[in-house]
């Protein structure tokens, strides 16, 4: 009598189950995505490669041990099922077998341990650093601050966000900290993750073999919009990097009078300047416009927008400034063409107006933020994230025109 919930007991049924399980196993092993941007198995730099070299044998050993254990259990389950055999001897174990089975895994683990030790210390080295970048996490974006390093043409500090731009083939050391809660910096293709902890400075080695763009994601839960705190590392060859530095050191020029962008500048000076700095921006009276985010934002910082259009993402690298096609063009380009395409920035044709406008219309609706004025009691009225500015469609048109000039 077999009911709907009965377990298959006939031989064919059992074979079917076994075949299904086998197929599932094969699907499992061949079931990886191709080109997942954050794949931990595709290192693109020496630090990540070191980890990869270490973990591949470990996974293999774990797999072999697993197969042996499952084979033993499977054999026992099949072989010793009750077929009316006499009650087995009531033996309490075989100490020699026990001890050897304790020592054997210990030896395997000790061997793994030696290589683990070596890699831990290799990855903690800082004395071979060729370039330093300060990285600061806050809810929910990353700020990059390049201290003066003349050998790379960085004659003034550069402050940027969203995309970390580094010279390829250069040993970069990130010095991480945070302005509010704990975040974690992770570009899987370049290295493992390292937490950015307020009040502490942690270092992380990064080096990319080839020019290209490498995706990452904040990996320490950091509150409401943790899911929308992404980042990308962009590696450029030496010349392209020098060009990028030069671009970043330039000041924003005011748009020509009478243009829509000029009106946008006025909107910016009226609203955005409270938090967002644009280097070189001047008020109508000619005085420099200085943002004061510490008065409005809990972390005391908002992304510097001077060269917004030189990076191709915004809002914690969660939305593209490039339209889909243009983005694909940049991300998918071979490494020798990549630098040129990246340095072109966001052109008029490629600007993803849709998302940018949506953002200006009501940022908290796109990315969850603590920006409801009625809920800011505990932070003393300061926002965590960008509030809804209540801009008119007119103002948004103007602002988009202005932002597009920030190359």
């Amino acid at each position: 009598m077999s009911k709907w919930y009965s377990v298959p007991t006939s031989k064919t049924a059992r074979r079917l189950v076994a075949a299904a399980a086998g197929l599932a196993g094969v699907a499992f092993l061949s079931g990886c995505a191709s080109n997942a941007p954050q794949d931990t198995w595709q290192p693109k730099g020496p630090n990540a490669e070191k980890i990869d070299d270490l973990q591949r044998p470990v996974f293999a050993i774990a797999g072999i041990v697993g197969v042996i254990v499952f084979a033993a259990i499977g054999y026992a389950v099949f072989k010793y099922r009750d077929r009316g055999q006499p009650i087995p001897e009531q033996s309490h174990g075989k100490p020699v077998l026990e001890i050897s089975m304790t020592v054997l895994p210990a030896i395997i683990l000790a061997a793994i341990g030696v290589f683990t030790f070596q890699t831990i210390f290799d990855l903690a080295k800082t004395d071979d650093t060729e370039m330093v970048i300060n990285v600061t996490g806050q809810q929910w974006w990353w700020e990059y601050d390049y201290p003066v390093q003349e050998q790379y043409g960085i004659t003034d500090p550069i402050i940027t966000s969203g995309q970390l731009v580094i010279p390829a083939g250069t040993k970069v050391l990130l010095r991480e900290t945070s302005r509010d809660v704990i975040h974690s910096y992770w570009i899987p293709a370049l290295n493992g993750k390292r937490d950015a902890v307020p009040g502490r400075v942690h270092t992380l080695r990064l080096e990319a073999d080839e020019p290209g763009i490498y995706a990452g994601q904040c990996t320490e839960f950091c509150g409401l919009s943790h899911a929308a705190m992404r980042m990308e590392a962009v590696a450029l060859d030496r010349d392209d990097f020098a060009a990028w530095v030069k671009g970043q050191l330039s000041l924003a020029a005011s748009p020509a009078d009478g243009t829509l962008a000029k009106e946008g500048e006025a909107v910016f000076l009226n609203q955005c300047i409270r938090c967002h700095q644009v280097n070189g921006l001047k008020r109508a009276d000619g005085s420099p416009a200085i943002a004061a985010p510490e008065d409005n934002v809990w972390s005391g910082a908002a992304p510097n927008l001077t060269h917004l259009m030189s990076r191709n993402t915004f809002a914690g690298a969660s939305w593209d400034l490039l339209t889909k096609g243009c983005r694909k063009d940049v991300w998918g380009s071979p490494s020798q063409e990549f630098g040129e395409k990246y340095l072109a920035g966001v052109t008029e044709d490629c600007l993803n107006q849709n998302d940018l406008r949506r953002w200006l219309r009501n940022a908290p609706a796109m990315k969850a933020m603590y920006a409801d004025p009625t809920k800011l009691e505990k932070s003393g009225g300061k926002y965590r994230g960008m509030p809804n500015l209540g801009l008119s469609e007119d103002d948004i048109d103007k602002l988009v025109a202005y932002l597009a000039t920030l190359k």
Binding site: P37, Q55, A62, A76, D82, A124, W186, R194, K375
Partner: protein
């Protein structure tokens, strides 16, 4: 005073004159109801408390399960909108909190409460009123933790509640306050339970039961109680710091006041890692009972299982920082904790080998309980091996906080802890309720859970290794890769798996319901078991054993039933469970002393949630709660262990079916 459910012996010899106080010290008379709700609410019987622990834990299992399904529904599609970011963050925080603190721990406590006294041949635990207090404290804590859902939002900082994200600015709702205070209260339950069970095991074993003749389940529960005894104070301190920071403006984790947020991480994980063993060792104990019974063989290498359990208990204290490999501890700390973590894999591996060797050469009977036990061995092995891959610290920096970790600990906790608990349900149900769960439904329950569990958590290995972080309320196509088997595909598979898992758990509930309605009574010894808890009626009488057995062997019950022929070495049955129990009844102990029910445990426990609410909303309320606690403590202390019959509510019945023997 004692109540035993045994006809008063006719013509019994005159009792010595009872020594009873002449007046009542307690403010309330003692309840004596043996039926109806009062017999449960005021009980101090370890078996009734065990059942209530189980029922409450099962309720929270369903709550935590619903939370899990909502999480998977949200993640079934990219940029999904089932839950908002805010609600999602509350959901995963509460899912973990509920499953860890309100399901697995209380369910393990349910098994410990019910079976440890029975397995060691005791009549109750050492401190029955404290036992009842622990249960009601758990209920109060569970209510406080979950009340936040209805009062402005639950805790949203993750179950690890890292500072400073748990501070008032970053988590402005009262959720974290409810969470911290609620867990503080359930911590009291764990701590009192631990003390109680340690004293019980060390002092109340039947004559002849040396520690090395003790059933493995009791052994591993003993290890767990020691872990609780030392781990709970650490989380207590951490939660106090957090509550003071949130409610009274303290600055323990405030960076601008010079604090280091890593303090919280150390405190949390010094508790949190032993906690992992607190969750899984009871289940190891359960299957170490189940596998031998259904293999008709003793546990292979009993001393190795016991000592590897104890070794895990010790080494478990030296591995907490492997949760912090990416926190920036510096290479020396990371290296040390990496090696220590590999070291703990050794005693864990010993257990897997011993379980495999237990069934090796046995006479295997594949009951539902046996299915779950073997399922545990297989699934836990997968979780253990993935654990070794992140003991390798550099590799862990790629894996930590991704779905690979989610996969790992669900194989360990679902495949390990929960499968063990289900093995326990099927194995011990006839003991507790006198009826057997339906075996066919049980096996269907098993297969659906195995398939659902592997479909849910198996793909998470790949999702994680291919870069999807945990605790994100949305995932996006942009980071999901290409091809049919991209991360989106596996996210959908995981969501479908969670629904299959849900059906599996529902089958269990249906099974419970069907069994409760069935009139079929279970045989006395349905599994041909090996340990003392089966050497009495099902369900056991209030006093457990008519005569306390004298123990001569490990697996005493088996040795009473079977003997080896000295010539042929054949093992033959020489006695049945019925014979043995009948023999006990015939030689019943006289004057069995059983603890009386009491009002005080629940009154004392009820004061604690009041204090918690007061701390959150208004201090005067907390004072009211404190007054309840202090008065209850006085009432409790003044309640005499022996008292005149007038001190009972209602007074003793005189129809002779109950004997009130004022002797202790």
């Amino acid at each position: 005073m004692a109540i035993i459910e045994r006809p008063a012996p006719v013509g019994a010899p005159a009792l010595p004159a009872p020594v009873t106080p002449t007046r009542t010290y307690g403010a309330l008379r003692r309840p004596v109801a043996t039926t109806g709700w009062k017999s449960w609410v005021f009980t101090v019987d370890h078996k009734k408390l065990g059942i209530m622990y189980g029922a409450v834990a099962m309720f929270f299992f369903i709550v935590g399960g619903i939370e899990a399904v909502l999480i998977r529904l949200q993640l079934a599609a990219p940029d999904n909108k089932v839950l908002t970011a805010d609600v999602y963050n509350q959901m995963f925080t509460m899912h973990a909190t509920t499953m860890v603190f309100l399901f697995v721990m209380p369910m393990a406590a349910a098994f410990a409460n019910y079976f440890v006294p029975l397995q060691i041949g005791a009549r109750d635990v050492a401190f029955p009123r404290i036992n009842a207090f622990g249960f009601w404290t758990l209920v109060g804590g569970g209510i406080i933790v979950n009340l936040s859902w209805f009062l402005g939002g639950a805790a949203d900082g993750g179950w690890f509640m890292y500072a400073p994200n748990s501070g008032p600015v970053f988590s402005p709702s009262n959720g974290v306050d409810f969470w911290a205070l609620g867990l503080q209260i359930t911590g009291i339950a764990s701590l009192t339970g631990a003390v109680n069970l340690i004293v019980t095991v060390l002092n109340m074993r039947a004559p002849g039961m040396s520690l090395m003749k003790m059933p493995v389940f009791t052994w591993l529960q003993l290890v767990v109680q020691f872990l609780l005894l030392f781990a709970i104070p650490v989380i207590t301190v951490a939660l106090f710091l957090l509550s003071f920071q949130r409610s009274f403006g303290a600055t323990f984790f405030d960076v601008s006041a010079g604090a280091d947020p890593l303090l919280w991480q150390h405190l949390f994980w010094i508790f949190g890692h032993p906690e992992v063993y607190i969750l899984v060792l009871p289940s190891f104990g359960i299957i170490s009972e189940v596998l031998p019974v259904f293999s008709k063989k003793p546990l292979f290498g009993y001393p190795f299982v016991v000592f590897s359990g104890a070794a895990i208990g010790f080494v478990g204290w030296g591995v907490w920082a492997h949760h912090m490999f990416a926190s920036g501890l510096g290479p020396v700390s990371v290296a040390v904790f990496s090696i220590a973590t590999m070291a703990i894999a050794v005693p864990t591996g010993v257990k897997i080998i011993n379980w495999t060797m237990t069934i090796w050469g046995g006479k295997l009977n594949f009951t539902a309980a046996m299915h779950f036990a073997i399922g545990l061995v297989v699934l836990f092995t997968i979780g253990g091996l993935s654990g070794v891959t992140h003991a390798v610290a550099p590799s862990d920096t790629q894996q930590t906080d991704t779905y690979y970790i989610v996969a790992h600990f669900h194989y360990v906790l679902f495949g390990g802890a929960i499968f063990g608990l289900f093995a326990g349900f099927y194995y011990w149900w006839p003991k507790v309720f006198g009826k057997q769960l339906n075996e066919r439904l049980g096996k269907a329950n098993f297969w659906l859970m195995v398939i659902g569990m592997n479909l849910t958590f198996g793909p998470m290995h790949m999702i994680g290794l291919q870069g999807q972080p945990r605790r994100m309320y949305i995932w996006t196509e942009a980071r999901a890769g290409e091809g049919l088997f991209n991360l989106g595909f596996w996210n959908r598979v995981a969501s479908i798996g969670s629904l299959i898992l849900t059906v599996g758990v529902l089958l269990f509930l249906i099974n419970v319901w069907k069994t409760a309605r069935s009139k079929q009574v279970a045989p006395l010894d349905p599994w041909d078991a090996r340990t003392l808890e089966w050497m009495t009626t099902s369900p056991p009488k209030e006093h457990n054993f008519d005569a306390i057995p004298t123990v001569r062997h490990l697996d005493e019950f088996f040795h009473r039933k079977y003997a080896q022929d000295s010539v042929t070495h054949e093992i033959k049955q020489v006695s049945t469970a019925e014979d043995i129990v009948r023999d006990q009844e015939a030689n019943a102990d006289k004057h069995i002393h059983m603890p009386s029910p009491s009002y005080w445990p629940i009154i004392l426990a009820s004061g604690l949630p009041v204090i918690a609410l007061g701390v959150i909303y208004a201090i005067p309320v907390a004072i009211v709660g404190a007054v309840i606690v202090v008065l209850a403590l006085f009432g409790w202390s003044l309640e005499p262990s022996t008292a005149p019959e007038t001190d009972f509510d209602p007074p003793a019945s005189e129809d002779g079916t109950k004997e009130l023997a004022p002797l202790g």
